[in-house]
Subunit: 430 residues, 2 copies
């Protein structure tokens, strides 16, 4: 079969007619399939159902004797801090365990820097127009936070080993109004790439023009290796906190992690990790902001997972469920699209997404075609600041939630939409 780019007008017209018929047939089936967000499936959630019952009615004290039912304890119970610390390979003093949403912790952190400055420095909003670097495609909810606080977003190209560090270094060292950068260092959302050791080292050794520049290191998929099988070793990225310390930038990184895709997406525990000094500073604010996190829920997590090893064992069970879904996506895309020369996609070793690049100018059309045929996708452009993909080509595929059979159906429709939109594009250029 010819690649689409090499087809004549007649060939393209015939192809388009054929694809239109296929598409109409799909549409007439009246499916309702959802691949919009990185949501765990029922099977995955069921892995954790014992969390619902793992406390007995006299089991409410943490190791240090704290009554988890009562007030007190701004930074989490010691056992939960230790689990996060072991997983992230830092010390418990560098961890504050919060509520169920790492997004809320990130939002808070940006909010307080706007109003009060970093570590009680000059509030960002008093300094002029704040800017963040946004490696793109990236996580739409990071960009939404910037948007909410009227922070200018500068897109940074994503390479296979992380953001374009030449550009990051150049901008960060020259513009004091650049106050932050959003990073998902392991199984990046949506590309699934893992930052190389070299990239992480260059991050730690940044020389920011702004002393209140911060790296927002959203390690959302830190333990989410699809390759995990008994005895296998998760992919490891260098420790940004210790590297920053070595580089003389001890307070630069703010690391976020969460059990939202480990235990229950809506009822998990999340944390922020940073230098001990930053943590002390954050705790001062928390003493005004809240009565403290839900320690009982932390205790549930501790009882269920026991320790970091327990978490990694559990992630293996997630991998068993997720691996066939990612495999199905990659195999279907390859079977349907390899020959056409109309798309590229990532084949991640973990995380929650596959990033799909269509022909330039086709993403919105593909998402619209899918929607019309009953397949809901993340809006085209959502992976770019302000929802603006300059090439209109990136689509985030979220294969985790639907059962395998439904995912197969959705992918069939998706591939048909990709082909149809691509044929339309080439035809329009003739």
């Amino acid at each position: 079969m010819k690649q689409y780019s090499e087809m004549t007008t007649a060939e393209l017209t015939a192809l388009k007619d054929q694809l239109s018929k296929e598409y109409t047939a799909h549409k007439e089936k009246g499916k309702k399939l959802n691949m919009t967000r990185g949501v765990p499936s029922d099977d995955q959630l069921a892995l954790c159902n014992e969390i619902l019952t793992c406390l007995s009615s006299d089991d409410y004290k943490s190791a240090n004797g704290i009554d988890c039912r009562n007030y007190g304890g701004l930074d989490g119970i010691p056992e939960m801090k230790k689990i996060f610390a072991d997983l992230l390979e830092i010390s418990p003093e560098e961890i504050i365990v919060g509520g169920n949403s790492s997004l809320a912790i990130m939002f808070d952190n940006v909010a307080v820097n706007m109003t009060h400055g970093v570590r009680d420095g000059v509030p960002w909003q008093k300094q002029g127009q704040v800017k963040f670097l946004c490696p793109s495609p990236g996580y739409d909810r990071h960009f939404s936070i910037c948007n909410y606080f009227h922070i200018d977003m500068i897109p940074i190209a994503m390479n296979k080993d992380g953001p374009d560090m030449d550009m990051v270094e150049k901008l960060v060292s020259s513009d004091p109004m650049i106050k932050g950068i959003w990073c998902v260092p392991k199984f990046s959302n949506p590309t699934g790439i893992v930052y190389s050791d070299e990239v992480v080292k260059r991050f730690a050794n940044l020389k920011p023009a702004a002393e209140d520049f911060r790296i927002y290191w959203d390690n959302a998929y830190a333990f989410h290796d699809l390759c995990l099988v008994a005895g296998s070793v998760p992919i490891k990225i260098p420790n940004i906190i210790s590297l920053c310390e070595e580089a003389g930038n001890p307070n630069m990184p703010l690391v976020f992690a969460s059990f939202s895709k480990v235990s229950f997406a809506g009822a998990a525990v999340a944390c922020i990790a940073s230098s001990k000094s930053n943590c002390e500073h954050i705790k001062k604010r928390l003493s005004i902001q809240t009565i403290g996190p839900d320690k009982i829920n932390q205790l549930r997590h501790v009882r269920f997972f026991k320790d970091a090893e327990g978490v990694m064992d559990h992630m293996m069970r997630h991998a068993i469920i997720l691996r066939p879904k990612f495999k199905l996506v990659v195999e279907t895309l390859s079977k349907e699209l390899d020959a056409c020369g109309i798309a590229k996609w990532t084949e991640p070793a973990g995380g929650y997404f596959i990033s799909f690049d269509a022909l330039d100018g086709c993403a919105k059309r593909i998402v619209a075609l899918c929607a019309e045929a009953g397949v809901a996708l993340t809006p085209a452009g959502a992976t770019y600041p302000n929802g603006n993909d300059p090439n209109d080509r990136n689509i985030r595929i979220a294969p985790t939630c639907p059962p395998l059979a439904e995912l197969g159906e959705a992918l069939e429709i998706f591939c048909c939409a990709v082909k149809l939109a691509s044929a339309e594009k080439y035809l329009s250029q003739k």
Copy 2:
């Protein structure tokens, strides 16, 4: 026995010597007693231990079919909204159930008004020096939020039926930089007074100079009547939300309530209630700020309490535990201090505190004497903005946490300290 004010120097000197001996004897016992904060006792927490075990491993769906384990649902599960709605006598559309801390919800609300303005109006911080009215004595953590956001606090006198409304009306209607007022309308912290119907009506009918003025109505003790016995009726205050609507101020009140002193202080559920329109507005922000509240914890509360009536039954059991403690405080103070003419105190019908007024200039000394003898009290002045009690006389007594026997010991020491400080004061004036 003579009142202290009528004593001669010789009598006061003898009294002081006697009290000093008593005080030294107390001190030598080396007690460690804590009455600093409004913390529930172990007995109270144990009333709820079934919350730890009330879900089974297949019980995770809310009435509307939502899987509480997964993402989704910014305003809480319907059953939990209904319980709050029934308790507060408003509609579920006027409720957003959040996490475990109503303080965090209040903090957030002030923070967003500073940066984004009320309902996306002009941000408070861009309008100049924001001011809040602070009925005093009041809740120190309200004042800490103002302090954190550099909001000027204007103390308002507290009468037996609520804040001095003449002053409130005068200031609110004349100064557009007054953007808020902190209220604890039922069993006010620390005085325990209940706002009268007339006061609540005057609140609803305020004519603020600032269109972005908000009433922060912290109904923290809405269900916390000490008088509750089977068949008795809780004290009722008028519904500020419906009264404001009737008065043409539908968006003025922000009501906060929490189960922190109903179920587990650190692992409960809290809510904000306001007009439907305000709630829609808040949800828009929450869609950026968080993945949503912990719905599983809400489901636990629903399973345990069942409905609003279940909550009120439960509060009766709290009252059985708390009533003897409040009685002991009031009786001890009366027995020890009535004859001396050196103090006044409140006798609340609910809430968590007794407010104690010593002679002017004596509160700090009393708290210091108590601390030295092993009784920790809330710092003197904490009940006033910026920790500054202009008369240095108010002390907040928090009798809920210690067991009855310890409370008795603490009160003995407290009364001794009050008498000693008062004798010292009168002597110094001779």
